[in-house]
Amino acid sequence: MMSEQGSTPGGDLTAPIGPHTIRRFTLSNGIKLIVQENHTSPSVVVRGHLWAGAINDPTEQAGLARFTASAVRRGTTTRTFQEINEITESVGANVFVSGGRHLTGFGGKSLAEDFGLLVDVLSDVLLNPAFPPKEVDKVRGQIITSLKELENDTRGLAHREFRQLLYTKEHPYGRPGDGTLESVPGIKRDDLVRFYQTYYRPEGAAIVVVGDVEAEAVRDALEQALGGWSRACPGAGGTVQPAGAPPPFKIPEVRPLTERRRYVRTMTNKTQADIALGTIGPARTAEDYYAARLGDLILGHLGLMGRLGENVRDKQGLAYYSYSSLEGGLGRGPWSVYAGVNPANVDRAIESILVEIARLRDEPVTDQELEDGQDYLTGVLPLRLETNEGIAGTLLDMDLYQLGDDYIIRYPELIRSVTKEQIQAAAQKYLDPEHYALVIVGPYEGD
């Protein structure tokens, strides 16, 4: 049965979004539904995820999860790909399914008046994909072309090779989620169907709806469309999904680097070299995540790309871009620095980046930097929550990482309570100017 989990009363009623505004429901099959009404524009956004990701790709089938996600939208038992495009695009709506590292995201956007259509198509795509062989071939061709284009893209290659170097091919985080020119041609329709049957299921799925809609009406519509989902893929051969929970979700252990790893791909026809350098950072749920987040902000974001922007880009004029990135999610993502530099400046830029990494470990950040970072993270929240998409993405994350419906209210305090010492400790724990992975792609001969 459907049930509504009552919102916790007593939240801060002046906050724009909190327990007093967020409506939670559970559909009959356990799918979590979170609704936030927002009547500022006559539009609506749906965002959700289920537990199917690149992490589930078999070693020799890198790219399977993303391939599957691209293919489910390519036709259902009752609609062709073109029909799906026609009915959604005719009203300016969109429905997407997108394969991520741990999860497959899905959702869409439409005018509020077309919400029924949006739900109808989205649920059809999730429940009844037919994987038409012709469409599967088309998707495969498109993935292969984009992988070939990647071979000519210094920045894209730097990112891909960096992950592989940092995590190695043995770990799912080191394998490219988009697959490779070796793996994708070998992925067949049957592989997609099997992946879909195994991993696309209601258990653990969550859906957020934000926009010019009424919460109960949303619940009724989604219950009708998705509440009965318990087995999948009649179109793929009528196979009934195995009963019970999906295969247990497990991220193999990640080990910090104990050496320096370096990979150079020389592309002499290019004019700029792209650099990726970094280590393994915390998961989103780690206790010191906020400290690392502030450290990352100071290192490579705040103002014009933080300290890296100031010293590598600005003061030394070495790069057009030079910023840092902390990607921790369900597991331990990279904490890394990216830069695009003239080939003559590669070595100097790397040196400067390492200096900045060492400085974040060796010295506490200044009071001013800490305050600026805290002011930014707390102040920017209303901007993030301006659009339906911004709200939906935030609510979905809040649910995924179990931050609580009062997270937005508690957030300023979470950020304000981080100390300089905690930031330094996080930098010492995760960053390392001696042991790191470094990738250089471009017109660089190096040593």
Binding site: E89, K109, G141, T145, N152, M267, Y320
Partner: protein, 455 residues
């Protein structure tokens, strides 16, 4: 400052959609002009405690002369290098510190800067823009350091085959008008532009007479108006900048270019000369664009809502497995601009095949009027894109300003009405008038062997 907007490239920058009458009950804009010439547009929107402050200057690569290409974009970079009141680094720092975001970008026709802030911090944005309209420093050392950064930015673009192809195509399509060079400028010019050149460009084009201030958000219109007066009225009017005199002569025959560079895929781009934003054919051209490739998104950053997969070019080129990507773009511009096509050739297919299929589609839309369904669809898509844009005050300010730059901000509010009167015959007529062989420039990117080796 990380964006160069190319009016003929990228569907995300196309000018298009909608209007207020159908969505808003009232335009709700306060328009006024200061004595020094600054035009101001204020629009209260109370959907969130946020306000977006934009200053638009009527200067872009369109205003650049040979030998000085890229100078407008470089000046934009220098605007983040500080004034006496806001020393270097402090603009970014203060906006971030106050929970805001900011950016600047340079296009062919304009240069724009914005700060989106919590509404009670709007004053910071106003102070920054009033100050740097007249008081940016252009420190010689900063000029030199930025030279490296900008050349580096250009080199990053040069890594992309589509950039190389676009640059060749545009310089071939325009032989007299400055739309022929890219916003980033030629590398040789970037090497030789001086601090004095930059300073002169700044002093010539940055002034109240050449600017429009647009503020949308949770504001008290009267209070903001008074504050704008206080901050901007003391800035001297200066003299009006020189007009752009170049007029592109009519094209009399097809032009073609083949770019041969190392690469892994083949790309096609093509462009046809079309009239400026104020020409009556502007709206039929937008509908033509939407029928061929879907209505362009109006959101700036963040999620877009693709509408191209049920459109004609996708069906004819991608569904048929000739290309992996295909579309077109049209962005209204101050002077006559381009209607642009692009495609990525699918592995195993040829540029000839893709080009032939593209011209077949063009011929079809010239030979037969589009259906009523396609017209209705283009309009509904525009209405949806407009509603999405309304979610954010940053987007609303962007569109008011963009339209004011090329025509009038009132177009933002009349947009859906303007589109709704376009007929199938109009669309057919503009396709027949402009998409003709003598008016087209075609570019092929033919990859030569890559020299790439892991080390």
């Amino acid at each position: 400052m990380f964006n160069r907007i190319h009016p003929t490239q990228g569907r995300h920058t196309a000018l298009p959609p909608p209007s207020g009458r159908l969505v808003l009950t009232d335009n709700n804009v306060l328009e006024f002009q200061l004595e020094n010439g600054l035009k101001v547009l204020l629009k209260p929107v109370r959907s969130a405690p946020v306000a977006s402050n934009w200053i638009w200057y009527r200067v872009g690569s369109r205003n650049e002369l040979p030998g000085k290409t890229g100078i407008s974009h470089w000046v934009e970079h220098m605007m983040f290098k500080g004034t006496a009141a806001f020393p270097k680094g402090s603009i970014m720092r203060l906006v971030n510190k106050n929970g805001g975001m900011l950016n600047g970008f340079t296009s062919f026709d304009y240069t724009a800067y914005f700060e989106t802030l919590p509404a009670d911090r709007l004053d910071l944005g106003l102070r920054i823009e009033a100050d740097r309209m007249a008081n940016s420093v252009f420190d010689p050392e900063e000029v030199e350091s930025e030279r490296t950064v900008i050349i580096s930015e250009r080199e990053g673009s040069e890594n992309s085959p589509n950039f190389l192809l676009r640059e060749e195509l545009m310089s071939l399509a325009f032989r007299a008008h400055p739309y022929g060079h890219q916003v980033i400028g030629w590398k040789e010019d970037l090497r030789q532009i001086t601090r004095e050149d930059l300073w002169t460009h700044y002093k010539t084009y940055y002034g109240p007479h050449n600017a429009v201030l647009v503020i949308v958000g949770d504001i008290d219109v009267e209070a903001v108006r008074a504050r704008v007066e206080e901050l901007f009225a003391p800035i001297p009017a200066g003299s009006p900048p020189p007009p752009v005199l170049a007029i592109e002569p009519a094209q009399t025959g097809e032009r073609r270019v083949v770019v041969r560079q190392p690469g892994t895929a083949q790309y096609l781009q093509a462009a046809f000369h079309v009239p400026d934003a104020r020409h009556p054919d502007n709206f039929p051209l937008m509908v033509l664009d939407a029928v061929l490739a879907g209505a362009s998104p109006m959101t700036f950053g963040g999620g877009s809502t693709p509408t191209h997969r049920s459109a004609r070019l996708y069906k004819a080129l991608v569904e048929t497995e000739l290309a992996t990507r295909a579309g077109c773009g049209y962005t209204p511009s101050i002077d006559p601009g381009l209607f642009h096509f692009y495609a990525t050739v699918r592995e195993g297919r040829s540029l000839e095949e893709v080009e032939r299929a593209l011209w077949d589609e063009v011929k079809r839309i010239q030979d037969e009027p589009v259906s009523e369904e396609e017209l209705a669809k283009a309009q509904k898509q525009a209405r949806a894109q407009f509603a999405y844009a309304l979610e954010s005050v940053t987007n609303q300010a962007l569109w008011l300003g963009l339209m004011e730059m090329v025509d009038s901000y009132t177009r933002f509010h009349s947009f859906l009405d303007d589109l709704s009167i376009v007929t199938a015959a109009d669309v057919q007529r503009v396709a027949q008038t402009y998409l003709v062989e003598t008016n087209r420039t075609v570019g092929w990117f033919v990859p030569t062997e890559m020299t790439s080796a892991p080390r």
